[in-house]
Symmetry: C2
Subunit: 468 residues, 2 copies
């Protein structure tokens, strides 16, 4: 396949332009550089913020004080990238993609100067933007998102200077619950305002209820079924409370953790194909559909869910890194694909571990799958071994075939990463009967004699046999 | 298929005899009872010891004091089994299986009385016996095996009464290293005498070396390449030292952890088929080859290794429980199989976690497989997250196909159970490239952005591509 449509002479140095300097973009740039030296490939990367290659997933732990130094979240600094021959332009925002002209327009945010940069290959890695509801007062001082390092720094500045100790987190997805922990650790009284009836809507409600109970037990005030209608400000213009239809929740600081959407404004304006979730659509090589030399990865793309066969939007650093690796390999003349996801996610609130993979009940319905669902209680280690902690495992299996469809786990230490057993089994298309037979690591300090995931699988296998 | 060859009238109550009252035997009995009530199935179980359904794997933790009460290792007591209509005969040893006559002879160990019991189905679950080298002095007081609860109690009695504080462990397999930890915790100075050059010969020597270094760091004296020639006793007849060709190691207590062999004396005498490792050979339903109504499971059988395609002997409670479940289901009129193992094992010495699955280099050689092997260093959590601890992952992949062949992990907290990712991937026949793409649980407290197993898989995939 001819990888370039340009009319430049064969053998000429190719020009790679990357939009976005975090995980996907800089992984792509680095991997391409590994395969092609500066004599073959010129790489320019635009980043509108101050940082590159940082762990956005680590922000809650920096804000909470587990990680003491912001720089520890940075995997590779701008200087390190430049040393590898990547022309990195910080505080420079791409404002237009000219697809036909194979060039991007970028603005230096300091000077306001704009200029065009031509490309042979373009990588779009514009990430996601936090959902920032269009509410009165939402831009008031003291209201924070936590998407970027800059956001994290602004929040930390507020936390260390604000006098009051009341924090409201809006949203109870994984960002919301992680920020609830971070604020608790900073000594705040935390209220989580959640539009659903349970936190963690990535779980089924019955499993979300376990999270709710645990969070309440940690002293967090959970306000459910509540839509924020307004952010109220004081005489000083700062936030003083969050209002819902039913009440007001005093707040010295507000953290928006409502979730994120693909940041595809630029791509959309350029006429590139977006999916139902607003993310860029790519093939398995991470090439934007219909555009041989435009690639996209990370939080701005949709990914194939291997269990449901549908496209999803999942903002996770681990996918972004893999996308970048795939894109860089392909641009560098190698061959790689990103086959898709099964929807694995793990998070924690203090000592509560929460994990999920595959389909929830409503996902299965939506995909047209009939299923059985079972829930079991087990322990992280042999029951008699010190530190054995309870965990709840919910498992979905397809009716008739017994194929594993999804697993949700809520427990304490040792619960979360057990979801990997199910993630691999889902990828391989194993049945719950096969999962029950797996040869998993067993010793009393590590697991009961039947791993909790297998206890669930045994029960699910019985349910499949008994289902009409 | 007609499940019984007896000439008893149809519909008559069937008689199930179980030899061995631990995991496999009593799981089989319990599962059969679940499916067939006492009116349909009479169950008699013979156990020569004092206990049933206990966790032999838990003995090191009881001896070490992590588990304070022996009874916590007992999953189900004799009384509980009897309440479910199982005629359990403790302290009763089966001395002969009369295959043609479909009966077993058993001796009451207290009275010496012998009697025959007829069966329609026989379950052989005689377990394993520790290798007890035929050495002068090996039966001296103060020399202990740790195979049964009775053994554990005898050792504990010695540990709590002996005056000296020097312990020698013979053998450095998983029992040996677990007992080294237990003895350390009891305040003993521990010497491990090992005939190999590295501990944990279930690992490749390069990985065993890491275990050796860690154990030395814990204050354990490691004596390698040393064959015990004699147990030396004092004037009181008690053990006083262990002798090798090269030296003497003073010992107030000696623990034999050399490994186990299938206990198939009875089965062999009855002419039942034994494999190369001395274990009973069964089909996938756990029926002894050539004997429609004789079943066997647990530590006395050989199991199919799904990676090498060869039979192995693996003494592990998790397999024994699964075997029992399969046997009981089949005897109870259901249908179940035990498809085989991939050789997963996990153990620990103090805070060092050791795990393996699939083939070592020498196993791959022996199976006729050509492979690449890679080793990587990574961490259990994101590098910046508190408690991130280093781990070493070694991975073998088949030359050309890239199929995953084996994984070995040595690390600290969070290292061991990661082997499950590889165990499932081995079972599913995934390539290392597929492993590198797996959608595994990621968040900074749980994993780096590439799970250590995936870091190894990426490197292995490159090695496969680059291999000639």
């Amino acid at each position: 396949m001819n990888m370039s449509r340009t009319n430049r002479p064969k053998g000429a140095r190719q020009r790679l332009v990357v939009i976005g300097g975090d995980a996907a973009g800089m992984s792509a740039a680095s991997q391409a550089r590994r395969l092609k030296g500066p004599g073959e490939l010129e790489i320019t990367a635009f980043e509108r913020g101050h940082f590159t290659s940082y762990s956005a997933c680590g922000i809650p732990y920096w804000v909470g004080g587990d990680v003491d130094d912001r720089d520890r979240l940075i995997a590779r600094t701008p200087e390190e990238h430049r040393e590898r021959g990547i022309d990195l332009r910080l505080r420079t925002e791409v404002t237009e993609i000219d697809v036909d002209g194979q060039r991007v327009r970028a603005r230096d945010l300091a000077s306001g100067a704009e200029s065009w940069t031509p490309y042979d290959h373009l990588v779009i890695a514009t990430g996601a933007r936090p959902v920032r509801p269009d509410l009165p007062g939402v831009d008031a001082p003291g209201v924070h998102g936590v998407q970027t390092l800059d956001d994290g720094q602004a929040l930390l500045d507020t936390l260390t200077t604000v006098e009051g100790r009341r924090a409201v987190v809006v949203g109870a997805g994984y960002i919301g619950v992680e920020m609830a922990e971070a604020l608790l650790r900073r000594g705040f009284e935390v209220t989580v305002v959640n539009r659903s009836s349970q936190p963690m809507s990535t779980l089924d409600p019955d499993m979300g209820r376990l999270v709710r109970e645990a969070m309440t037990g940690m002293g967090i005030t959970m306000v459910d079924d509540a839509e924020v209608t307004k952010v109220l400000t004081g005489d000083d213009g700062r936030v003083r409370a969050v209002a819902t239809e039913d009440g007001e929740y005093p707040a010295d600081v507000v953290v928006l953790g409502i979730g994120v959407r693909p940041e595809t404004t630029l791509a959309g304006a350029a006429g590139l194909p977006l999916g139902a979730h607003g993310g860029l659509l790519t093939d398995l090589a991470m090439r934007v559909h219909g555009h041989e030399n435009i690639w996209a990865g990370g939080d701005c793309v949709e990914v194939l869910d291997l269990v449901s066969g549908r496209e999803r939007h999942i903002a996770l650093g681990t996918h972004a890194n893999k996308h970048g690796q795939v894109i860089g390999t392909n641009i560098g003349g190698g061959y790689a694909t990103f086959p898709g996801v099964v929807g694995t996610a793990v998070s924690k609130v203090c000592d509560l571990e929460i994990a999920r993979t595959g389909l929830r009940e409503k996902d299965a319905h939506r995909a047209g799958l009939q299923y059985v669902a079972v829930t079991i209680e087990s322990t992280s280690r042999a029951g008699y071994y010190p530190g054995a902690s309870p965990m709840t495992v919910k498992m979905l299996a397809e009716r008739r075939t017994g194929r594993l469809l999804g697993v949700q786990i809520v427990g304490r230490e040792g619960a979360g990463k057990r979801v990997d057993i199910a993630a691999v089994a889902l990828t391989a298309g194993l049945t719950v009967e096969q999962v029950a037979h797996l040869d998993l690591g067993y010793a009393p300090p590590f697991s009961p004699v039947w791993d909790p995931v297998q206890v669930a699988a045994r029960k699910a296998a019985v349910a499949v046999r008994e289902a009409p």
